[in-house]
Amino acid sequence: MTTQVPDVGAYDREWRGVSAEDAEQISTAGGVFLRERSRRLLADLARPHKRSLWLVAVAVVLQNAAGMAGPYLVSVGIDRGIPEMAAGEGPRTLLLVFAVFMACAIAQGGLRWMFFLISGRIGQAMLFQLRRRVFTHLQGLSLSFHEKYTSGRVISRLTSDVETIGELLDESLDELVMAVLSIVSIGVILLVLDAPLALVVLLSFPLLILLFRWFRKHSALSYRRTRETIALLIVQFAESLGGIRAVQAFRREPRNQEIFESVNGDYKLANRRAWKLIAWFEPGIILLGNLTIGAVLLYGGFRVLDGELEVGVLVAFLLYLRRFFAPMEDLSVLYNAFQAATAALEKLSGVLEEVPSVPPPAQPRPLPRPSGAVGFDDVRFGYRSDSPVLPRLSLSIPAGQTVALVGATGAGKSTLARLLARFYDPVEGSVNVDGIDLRALADDDLRRAVVMVTQESFLFSGTVAANIALGRPSASRAEIEDAARAIGADEFIRALPEGYDTDVRRRGGRLSAGQRQLVAFARAFLADPAVLVLDEATSSLDVPSERLVQRALRTILTDRTAVIIAHRLSTVEIADRVLVMSDGRIVEDGSPADLIGDAGAFADLHQAWRDSLI
């Protein structure tokens, strides 16, 4: 494959994945690469349907054959049927013609019906496959990708882009089959009929090709722009409506409207650019066809007058010529849809090409019964290469220990937690559970081993029970309720209008932040991991709820390892060990009692916290 496009390698890196998303002006070679990639994806999606596609092609050909019989039958009816009748021989031929005509009509209708059914089924199957692949792939990509690639973009890829491809598949592909077929076959017939006239027709070809090429080049640019602007539009739309409370409370509506109208305007302009190209392109094809027909009519006419050509040949030529250029027009419409779809495919294939920066292991090591011993070996990590957050961290937590992480904002506590949950991989060194590097664990084993609860407790729309069950989808209702009870969430859930079956609505908007945290806690409890990581997971709880959670934690954590980050040092009371972090390093390490006794940073923090309680 690579031999076909030898310079792909040079552009490989540059255009890999989604890095070309914002680049509208793309060099020719880069463009070739993107198109290649899109075409490969399309071919990939179509491959399983090879046999059905052949069936469709056959149906189209047969259907057109049935259609072609019409004019012939008309001529038979008129030339033979009527004279027969006039001669008093009865309507036998005529009735026969009628019967065959009806049979052809029904065959044509039936074949067309079949064609729509099969091609519709193929199209929907391809779209389904595409959606599934892109979604699954996106979900597999690491957080570092999602932090840059906003949810609005994800939505636009999986809705607007996929629909654009759907439009191509909806465009009757029969036209493509017929167009190619009739252009080739009629071209041959024309040459056979009369070479000089056929040459006149051939003269239009270079112009046609130029027009197609011109359109391809410019429309590729403008359709790319269309895809990009619709993504921006969806980003602004979804994000601002998602944060509508803040928008309304701070009167941002006019400014939002301004931004939205501006991106909507950009989208309009991008579309208009594409439409203007079509406005030149499609009539251009028609014009070329009409001019050719006119030229043939005149040139052929004079040759007939000069006696060099028979009238019959000219008549046939003109008839065939119409069948030659009509599919060309269809082809131009189809080509336009194809160009639009290619731009969408470029974006989608880009997403599919992204490699997760936290990749699944090639050969996972099994960890069926994790005990929960955690180790950080010389871990170096930073979100950006120039500023390490954890310069070099080593830490060993024996199974079953409860560790509290304390330290000022920016000390690297959350980063440590995220590394342990494998949201990121360390730049150097390794993080391991039971001595196995996290990078060697399959997703299922990893999550059986480590689960993290953060302070932002995102809930999916659906019932409370469904949200808790996310911790362990196989859990029974009783287990779900047990988990909620253990964490002290049972009471408020039962007080909801429909108890556990109450719909929490979008983002869990029906619940308060504290209630959401309780649900998130119950979820993690239900997941029953060997290592539980709590990153500020109790920040929004009121004191009684927090006490309940603390109390519950005492029992929950007896047989598992826990890493707890909390600004409220009440958590420390249940910890076996406290780590004080500063600038990505562990500066104090010991039991709470020991550290309070020392005159270190923790003792100060502890004092400050005690003071804040009254």
Binding site: I82, G110, Q139, T159, N290, V451, F458
Partner: protein
Amino acid sequence: MSEDRSTSNKGSLHSLWRMRSYLRPYIGQMTVMGIAALVTVGAELAIPLVSQRVIDGPLADGDSSGLWWLGGLALLLGVLEAVFGFVRRWVQSFCMLDMETAIRNDLYAHLQRLPVAYHDRAQTGQLVTRATSDITTIRRFLGFGLIFLVVNVTLFTVVTIYLLRLYWPLGLLVVLSAVPVAYFTLIFEREYIVASRRCQDLQGDVATVVEEAAVGIRIVKALGRRRTIGGRFLHESRQLRRASLVKVRILAKFWAILDLVPQVLLALVLLIGALAVAAGDLTLGSLVAFVSLVVLLAWPIEALGWILAIGQESATAADRLYEVFDTEPMIADRPGAHDLGAARGLLRFEGVGFRFPGADRDVLHGIDLTVEPGETVAIVGATGSGKTALTALVPRLYDVSSGRITLDGTDIRDVTLTSLRRAVATAFEDPTLFSASARENLTLGRLDATDAEIAEAISVAQADFVYDLPWGLATRIGEQGLSLSGGQRQRLALARAVLGRPSVLVLDDPLSALDIHTEGLVEEALRRVLAATTALVVAHRPSTVLLADRVALLEGGTITAVGTHHELLDRVPAYRQILSAESDSDEVLAGGRR
């Protein structure tokens, strides 16, 4: 998932008809497009007729000047077809895109006006597909389908009239062919409208799952629930595929029938015509002309299928749009609402009750509370006692269900929303940030904020870290401030609230995500602001409560005690239970384990 999905043909067509107001500014252009389409179709049909004339006339007679004439005419018609095709598309690229853009702007504006209660229930994915594919579908029909509907009906009528005059019995047959077309169209419409609506709804559902999965990606990762979420997505996608195939089946049947009708018509015309010719009622030439004209009719009939399909789709799309447009913004300026002006900040709740729209019980009831100008009152209550709901009532994110809230003695529903929300600023418990610069995230609606005001707000909230961002205040903060920690986001949200010194501050647990050290600094700075500002502060911690002059205890949706922190601590056991740091209250624990 959306509330009301009943679809009726009549209702949908009505919705589409209501869209006409968007077409009104473009009547002129629409007319031009219609005429251009007619000319195009006319020229397209005339070219073969001219060719025919060339062969029958000049070529048969050996008339070379006639050949020039007619050949020139064919060329002219060819150019006309292309030029008018160009004109139609060119005009279309202006007015139809303008129209589409206008509908989308209006939809967005309306959605921004709808109250929070609406958005709590709305699915983002459903709204996104309304704003994108639904509007596009409508544009496609109004800008293209509608025009060709008119053109095709015109063509059909003209040709039919001509045929009736040529030989009326056969003409009548052509007219009668409209009967099966109409019959099948009616059946088609009834089936298709349901299928079309279902597909659009499912597209929205798919988008909703996508949106949730994308926003909640960290939860999905943290719990390793890729497969669960993937399963949900596949379920919706499969439903969509199934619904689309229903659509395909209906279309395939309808389109095949529309293909069949002209063919059968042609066969019948040939049979009956030939019999008529044999009987001497019709000349052969007329029959040939008749047959070729009937062939012309095939295209408009076939195209009808496509046009009707997008017509139906745009009708249900219009339905979906009007479901949004017809939702009245329940929270809006009353007629005669006046500007609040500079508020002193006397905030009073008078017998306030509140229930969420559609809920069957009150979240709050009988709330009476006065916050004097400059006073800070803390709201303390157990999880789920209605604290957050109470704070949302002040800037009218929700409206009270009973009683009233007054600011400086005026019912807050009697002043304009803009002036009320200028006077009242809120720091939410969820610090929502937008994909915009840090500066823009601070100012939000107050575009006139000065640099000095911004600097002051940042210093109060101890949010100096923004200066250390790569491009300082100009740094674009990622979606939902993903690149910021929870504490940083909360400080930005606080800075946003105190910016420009609002008359009334509503702080919903503003310090929960801060570490002890930062919390102390913020408290100190906040105290200065609160000294001169009326404020309601939802508090979970004693340290936050100490910011307030008085405390109101919220229990079971109403205020059961008001006083200073120490008074309540001494006097009210319930308050002690909620706020006391001592973990000796085993009764609470016992209560929770019940």
